[in-house]
């Protein structure tokens, strides 16, 4: 039986020579997040922090640790969930989220695709695939990002926390690399985006250096109610294939995901500089007024293509 490096208690965690018991793993996990917040200045005392949450393990871990940090530093915060309308999936995780927020007395706002775009994802997924050749994850991603930003902004948020972890970042890096989208990589990092704009609430990722396996362990040890729950549309996603390949690599070469993301962070300042110089000025969507790169933003264009506009 493996024992903790620090106290000789029974180990629950082992990674690249670091072996920890429950108590020391929880401390390691929370300290790593606090260090990320401080190193990258994710929050300031005057911030109004909006935490994007779905009820899954990553968002609950982000919600819990961000709540702790905000309380310690007297920063105001609230949670925001998007109900995409994915039957048999989102309804379950939202129930878990409601219970979690009630237990910790976290203000929670929920907005839905139905109220914002006039239809649930279930209602538009087939049409998007058949007529636009767009996978549900593409449609969901555009509408979800837009809903989070618009709602967070309307609620007065100055920062938007997402539960993205090291696995998500490594997957995005590899996907963009494989698809030749280097400019998209310039928008990654612990603080998302290439340049600031009043219309965008800056997105920050406190779980940036946390493995997905670590959030699952944290959720288990903290007794968060988290059950295996995978989006029914995941099988159509490119991300799933990349995720599985990366996990194979991690098994053969432990630390591969950390290595990949740390190497990326070394070149990120150069990438940002390069694409900031090439970037044209923001324009504003003729339909909704959001900042975008063309005449109409992606969400409004998609609404028109799917005939969701009045």
């Amino acid at each position: 039986m493996a024992k903790c490096n620090k106290c000789e208690q029974k180990a629950v965690y082992s990674n690249q020579g670091l072996v920890l018991c429950k108590e020391h793993f929880l401390d390691y996990f929370e300290t790593k997040i606090e260090k990320t917040i401080k190193k990258y200045n994710l929050f300031s005392p005057s911030d109004q922090v909006c935490i994007a949450a779905s009820g899954g393990k990553d968002s609950l871990a982000a919600l819990y640790t961000t709540m702790q940090f905000c309380k310690e530093h007297s920063i105001s915060f609230f949670a925001l969930a998007i109900d995409e309308g994915i039957g048999g999936y989102r309804d379950h995780t939202l129930d878990d989220l409601r219970n979690f927020c009630q237990a910790y007395e976290i203000p929670l706002h929920i907005v839905s695709f139905k109220e914002q775009y006039g239809a649930t994802l279930d209602q538009i997924r087939d049409k998007a695939l058949a007529t636009l050749n767009k996978k549900p994850c593409t449609v969901c991603g555009i509408f979800r990002r837009t809903s989070l930003n618009r709602t967070a902004r309307a609620l007065g948020a100055t920062k938007l926390v997402t539960g993205h972890n090291l696995d998500d970042e490594a997957q995005s890096l590899l996907m963009n690399q494989l698809l030749g989208n280097m400019s998209h990589n310039a928008s990654l990092g612990p603080i998302t985006g290439l340049s600031a704009n009043d219309k965008f609430v800056p997105r920050v990722k406190p779980l940036y250096f946390i493995l997905e396996k670590e959030t699952r362990l944290f959720a288990f040890l903290k007794k968060f109610k988290v059950e295996f729950n995978e989006c029914p549309n995941i099988n159509l996603s490119f991300r799933m294939q990349v995720r599985d390949q990366l996990n194979e690599m991690e098994n053969k070469l432990p630390g591969a995901k950390h290595g990949m993301v740390n190497a990326f962070l070394e070149i990120l300042p150069l990438l940002k500089k390069h694409y900031q110089e090439k970037k044209t000025e923001f324009s504003y969507c003729l339909e909704c007024g959001d900042a975008c790169s063309g005449k109409v933003c992606n969400a409004c264009r998609l609404e028109e293509e799917l005939e969701l506009k009045d």
């Binding site: 039986m1 629950v12 899954g56 994915i86 997905e212 362990l217 295996f228 995978e230 098994n251």
Partner: protein
Amino acid sequence: MKVYIEKEKKQLDLAAKTGADLLEKLKINPATVLLVKNKEIILPDEALQDSDEIQILSVISGG
């Protein structure tokens, strides 16, 4: 021993010397799961006995 695989919602009866041995038999990548023995987290090198109840929890979820 009784083995419950969370992702597949499947219960099996299997014999294995250690957690790692069990995952190898089931062809499950250790990077994608947590092992729980009698309701407590264990590392893959821990020895298993026939009377143990094992849960294999999926690390991956979401969309």
